[in-house]
């Protein structure tokens, strides 16, 4: 049994596998399949200052080896998250990461400030949701935007702050450096890639929102490349995600430089994906005689 524990921004994880924000709600549904204590952590559904109803359906479309979604940050709002969801989550013996978003930097800061007085372990600031017209990706696609929202949220909370980056940019490493300079404790990437499908029988986009965020195994090589570029550019820990669906994928992402990984679309395919990934990672490390998963972080030997 290899040591799977990792540390990100001072927070201990029993293993590096975290269900990504958006696919896992607030954990209640998956607790009907397995104990949440088996997970390294949980990144909760993106939560905003006020309740949001999200986009019209259809909100999902399948793509070759992947999917598009356009949920649009549907959530009950931060107050209800704190009163109705967080107390339950905090009892689950796993790291709880509150994923937050907003239409303005001020809204993000207000949400972060409310979480500052709770027991939540970490905050993940989403500056990269492709599915909301205002905010989201608008902050995340320029260094200036990413810097300013990180600065104001950093000032609002002492919690370890992860900034979740958009891949829909020219140079993701420069955005990562910009948020690091403003005091981010970690960066997570990649959020979904903007995509589109059209039903050729009707001439209509499959998604009611026309476009949506692409995820799933098809995006994995892009995610590995971006994690590798970012890990080489910053000295804060990187949380890697994008198309991870097996233990081997998770190992590969960590070799690229990720200190932990998040799993999204794979959970929609298989609710047990995170626990299977943990088992497969352990098996791989044992077979290779590697004692700790920490040894593989950033261990890629580039040509």
């Amino acid at each position: 049994m290899a040591d799977l524990s990792v540390k990100v921004a001072g927070v201990e994880f029993k293993n590096p596998v975290i269900p990504a924000s958006g696919v896992f709600g607030y954990g209640r549904e998956y607790e009907e399949f397995y104990s949440l204590s088996r997970l390294g952590g949980i990144s909760t559904k993106g939560t905003t200052g006020q309740m949001r109803t999200g986009n019209l359906a259809p909100r999902i479309a399948e793509t070759p080896m992947g999917m598009l979604n356009s949920v649009g940050l549907q959530n009950p709002g931060i107050d209800r998250f704190i009163s109705h969801e967080l107390p339950n989550l905090m009892q689950k013996d796993t790291v709880i990461i509150a994923n937050i978003a907003g239409s303005t930097p001020e809204e993000c800061a207000e949400v972060a400030a409310k979480l500052d007085s709770t027991d939540v372990h970490m905050i993940e600031l989403n500056i990269s949701c492709p599915n909301v017209k205002q905010g989201g990706a608008a902050f995340g696609v320029t260094c200036e935007g990413a810097s300013s929202v990180t600065r104001i949220v950093r000032n609002a909370t002492k919690k370890p702050l992860i900034v979740k980056l958009s891949p829909n940019v020219t140079d993701i490493a420069s955005i990562a450096k910009a948020v690091e300079a403003e005091g981010a404790d970690s960066v997570s990437l990649i959020n979904t890639l903007l995509g589109m499908r059209i039903d050729i029988n009707t001439g209509r986009p499959v998604l009611r929102n026309n476009c949506g965020g692409m995820s799933g195994p098809a995006v994995f090589p892009i995610a590995v490349r971006m994690v590798w570029q970012v890990a080489n550019a910053v000295s804060i820990p990187v949380i890697g995600m994008g198309g991870i669906s097996s233990g081997r994928d998770a190992i590969e992402m960590m070799m690229a430089g990720a200190s932990a990984v998040q799993v999204g679309a794979a959970i929609i395919t298989d609710p047990f994906a995170p626990v299977k990934i943990i088992e497969e990672m352990n098996q791989f490390l044992d077979e290779k005689g590697i004692k700790s998963v920490r040894e593989i972080i950033g261990s890629v030997k580039p040509w």
Binding site: G25, Y30, P217
Partner: protein, 254 residues
């Protein structure tokens, strides 16, 4: 609610109409927990998204579920191509099914097309206390007629082109039967459900409708299968997979 995921053997398969397949799957734990109007989420091999398929029959003694579905796209075609004896990766039973209320007066069970299969367990339950009104495009699209007749319910078949049974939509016989009805239970395409609800609501007969939407997780976490519903005067997005697929017709924002 406890969910089960596993690989289950396809015991029997039949093609019963153009693109329509009839599967019997050995899955005792899911069959034991399943109720009328629920669905299972099945993964076509090599795909990212599961396909939600309504339950057409529950045999707890044999430990089997029956599903009847249409091979409409690549994913459902892949499922249809599963050879007898092979495994299917299933999560289930899922969703909020029909409330099986006892009423004075007839229970009208109505729907159309590929919305018909989940109505069969309802006909089995209500038997001779039910009137079943089913709509299809044409005679060659009619499915499960004998199964419905074997339940003891009165069965009325309608076709759009008049090639079989009543020429016209299910609302035609429904208008005649609604006066003696205690409740209406329905599943089918949205415009049909909307028309069925309007006929029922006009006579103050409670009506339950089973909706369809593109789904992700199937368990209520990913929030993709949103539908606009109204409860206690408040509008919100419900989710077909967990709040539904069956809703009170008065809750649905058509």
């Amino acid at each position: 609610m406890k969910y089960t995921q596993g690989k289950y053997i396809l015991l029997e398969k039949k093609a019963i109409a153009k693109q329509i397949y009839d599967f019997t799957i050995l899955c005792p734990d899911i069959a034991q927990a399943a109720s009328e109007g629920q669905f299972v989420n099945i993964l076509p091999e090599g795909h990212t998204l599961r396909r939600p398929i309504s339950i057409c029959g529950i045999d707890r003694e044999a430990g089997t579920l029956r599903i009847v579905f249409m091979a409409k796209g690549e994913g459902t075609q892949k499922l249809a191509d599963t050879p007898k004896g092979a495994n299917l990766d299933i999560v289930g039973p899922l969703g909020h099914g029909f409330a099986m209320n006892e009423v004075s007066g007839k229970t009208i069970i109505t729907g159309g097309g590929i919305g018909v299969p989940p109505l069969l367990p309802l006909a089995k339950h209500y038997g001779s206390r039910a009137v079943v009104i089913l709509g299809f495009r044409s005679a060659d699209a009619v499915i499960l007629k004998k199964d419905f007749e074997a339940t003891g319910a009165e069965v009325i078949i309608c076709t759009d082109d008049g090639s079989y049974g009543v020429h016209g939509m299910v609302t035609k016989p429904l208008e005649e039967e609604i006066a003696e009805a205690g409740q209406v239970l329905s599943c089918g395409p949205m415009p049909m459900l909307k028309a069925i609800s309007a006929v029922s609501e006009a006579k103050n007969v409670p009506c339950q409708v089973s909706l369809e939407e593109r789904m992700g997780c199937g368990v209520g976490a990913c929030l993709v299968c949103a539908c606009r519903v109204k409860k206690n005067g408040e509008e919100r997005f419900g989710h077909v997979c967990k709040d539904g697929p069956v809703f009170d017709s008065k809750e649905v924002m058509w």
